[in-house]
């Protein structure tokens, strides 16, 4: 890329600290998105988002159509659930998601001979996405459509999007930032989406911008994706949307870090980007908004990448939500001999799991299968307080102290060192020369703090 230049934005294009893990995107970056054939059965957990679970509105043995509402989010922070296939509802089952949540899921046995994925992908990747007729949509309508379509953040956190686009008098939003950084190694769904469906992203961005009356819309992409940048630049040339190219660095895709990089604003501790007038959404989410508003399709499918050295044929797939991970892996040629760990999401923040029945949820951005070479490390040694973790922490914390406070059960000390500011990006653990599982300890520490405050 040559010397990095970052012009036109207040920020420096980067944030303090952070790490540079090998991005390993070559596994799947050049693989065009394939539509995954409709599976025999889907399993839809009732809670796929941050917030409250939704309540089932279908009964056992009921027939449902593609896109039909099967779960309704009653609480404000919860999202609706739609069937990705046409089929028959079966008895509910319990599933344990990779993040440890144990909950009920709606099971739907799909009818034969259908391929809703093909239709949806065609709509998504079409060239006819409008950029000029956005003003006919009223912001309230857009919000409502987003709510009804059950859209959540597809970057991984799965925060219900309608909450973000809800106008709030106390927090004036003037900037919409669209996060296409995809800083996690291995993952490529956002990249492929930007390559293959930029129209949906641009339209969705304009719609979302209208919904929150944003004065400025910025699409942020890391500089290791030149082709996507090129494509987005071309297509956004006629619109108000600007493309910001930020430095490749982990965790650039974290919202606070991205706001810092692009706008040079500090999101307050414990606050959201909205506290500094910024709304942030993932490119996938934005495309889903476009689909919901323009093509009137609820969120039932998403792009994920199945990648890593442990996968025979890494691929990017357009899959129905609720399909089991085992099927995806089989579709990609199965695991290789040296596969060691299956991770839902990227290798830095994703959750590993062992149950191949686990369904893909709205927040699953990829399945990464790591090899022994990737994950095997020496045994943990003592912390020598070398301070590498301090240099890596994008939140400017002292991870070693937090971890030791957790290990020796001293929640008061952990609070003093601001344990709750940690968003578990894993940078500290990545650099730790002693192989201490800092993030895990910090996570445990947070629980101790919660228990102490109870």
């Amino acid at each position: 890329m040559g010397l990095f230049r970052f012009k036109g934005f207040p920020g420096k294009g980067t944030f303090p600290h952070g790490i540079h893990p090998p991005d390993n995107k070559f596994f799947s970056a050049d693989k065009a998105i394939e539509v995954f054939p409709t599976p025999a059965k889907v399993l839809l957990p009732l809670l796929q988002n941050i917030g409250a679970p939704c309540e089932p509105v279908v009964k056992s043995k009921q027939q449902v159509a593609v896109g039909e509402l099967v779960g309704k989010g009653k609480a404000f922070v919860s999202a609706a659930l739609h069937s990705p296939v046409a089929g028959k509802v079966k008895k509910p089952a319990m599933v344990t998601l990779p993040n440890g949540r144990h909950m009920q899921a709606i099971q739907i046995a799909a009818d034969e001979d259908q391929n809703p994925g093909e239709v949806l992908w065609e709509k998504l990747s079409a060239k006819d996405w409008p950029t000029d007729c956005i003003s006919i949509y009223d912001p309230a309508t857009i919000s409502k459509v987003i709510h009804d379509a059950g859209i959540v953040g597809l970057g991984g956190a799965a925060f219900p999007t309608h909450v973000k686009v809800m106008p709030d008098e106390n927090k004036m939003i003037d900037t919409l930032m669209i996060n296409g950084c995809e800083c996690e190694p291995f993952l490529t769904p956002d990249y492929r989406l930007m390559m293959e469906a930029p129209g949906a992203i641009v339209t969705g961005a304009l719609l979302a911008g209208r919904a929150i009356s944003a004065k400025e819309i910025i699409i942020c992409v890391e500089d290791n994706k030149p082709l996507a940048i090129e494509r987005l630049r071309r297509i956004t040339a006629q619109t108000v949307i600007r493309v910001a190219v930020v430095q490749t660095k982990y965790p650039q895709g974290s919202e606070k870090q991205l706001v810092k990089s692009v706008l040079d604003l500090d999101v307050p501790l414990g606050g959201l980007p909205s506290d500094v007038g910024v709304a942030m959404s993932n490119v996938g989410t934005i495309a889903a908004i476009g689909m919901a508003v323009i093509k009137e399709e609820p969120l039932t499918h998403r792009v994920i990448s199945v990648s890593g050295g442990g996968i025979a044929n890494p691929k990017n797939l357009f899959v129905p939500i609720g399909v089991s991970v085992g099927e995806l892996i089989d579709y990609c040629g199965g695991l290789t001999k040296d596969a060691a760990r299956v991770v839902s999401g990227g290798p830095m923040m994703g959750f590993s799991f062992s149950d191949m029945d686990t369904p893909v949820t709205k927040g699953t951005s990829g399945i990464t299968v790591l090899t022994h070479e990737d994950v095997d490390r020496e045994n943990e040694t003592s912390c020598v307080r070398c301070g590498r973790c301090v240099d890596a922490c994008p939140m400017n914390l002292v991870p070693t102290k937090l971890a030791m406070a957790s290990r020796y059960k001293n929640p008061a000390l952990a609070v003093k060192y601001n344990i709750n500011a940690c968003f578990e990006c894993g940078s500290c653990t990545y650099v730790c020369p002693a192989n201490i599982k800092l993030v895990q300890l910090i996570r445990t520490g947070k629980q101790q703090v919660a228990a102490m405050n109870k």
């Binding site: 085992g326 301070g387 020369p433």
Partner: protein
Amino acid sequence: MSEKNEISGQGLGSDIAIHVAPSPHLSDQTFTTRRMMTDVLIGLLPLVVMSVYVFRMFAVTQLVICVLACMASEFVFVKMRSKPVTLNDFSAVVTGVILALSLPGTAPWYVGVLASVIAIGIGKVIFGGLGMNIFNPAMVGRAFVMIAFASAMGASAYINADGGVDAMSMATPLTAFKQSGVATSILDLFVGVTNGSLGETSAFACLLGGGYLLYRRTASWEIPAGILSTVIVLSAWADMSGGFGGGFVLHQLFGGALLFGTFFIATDPVSSPVTPKGKWIFGIGAGALIMVIRLFSGYPEGVMFAVLLMNAMTPLINRWTIPKPTGVA
């Protein structure tokens, strides 16, 4: 269960054991604790070479005694705690080499042995081993023998005209200066053909090894920067008020254990603060103490005491310099 096997298909044969672990799943394997210790040893190499060149057999004997004694005591003490012996992390070797280099070549064998036992026993294992030691083990050991065998470690102990080594027929530069007002030539100090503790004589070797550590980022640059700048400022001030005409600063800088201590002892990550700001405070404090002790106290050299004192302050410094997380005004 049968249903499950059907779905997961061919990929999960019995020969592939999928395990689970917390995130993150990647780690930087190029940099490990052992690698850090090896780096320190590489950094110490110029000093070892120089000390062997200047002091001959004295240096060799002292190095062998200290390294062996350190490893033996590490082995014994860790065994006493019935914990796995961790000699392979090289930390005991590093302690041994630093300890040996901080002793005068003429020190009798029991000085090295006792210093090693104290360094590993009281300086390290009693606090829980590597990573837990509040104080720099080598300096605890050295301070102990320094006070215990003052005559074997004191200024005059360095002089041993019978040793047949040129450097050992003169007083150590700082002692000569403090007690008689005699300054050693800067060039001698820089090259290292003066008397003193084994590792401290050659400013050049210290700079070389220290530079390597800084380049490898095994030692953080903030502490040396803090110490050296403070020493320069304070000695310049003393220089001006004493009317020495400038030579004093370089003499203070290159004489004694300043560079050795700055690069290899004060930068010991375990016993220094973790945050950059804390490291600056540590460095400035150590530099100030070094100069106070050198200028005013009964000892010609203050690096060891300064490092120990700042080690003691480190928990407090850490406490005062908890960094503000991003987003806190």
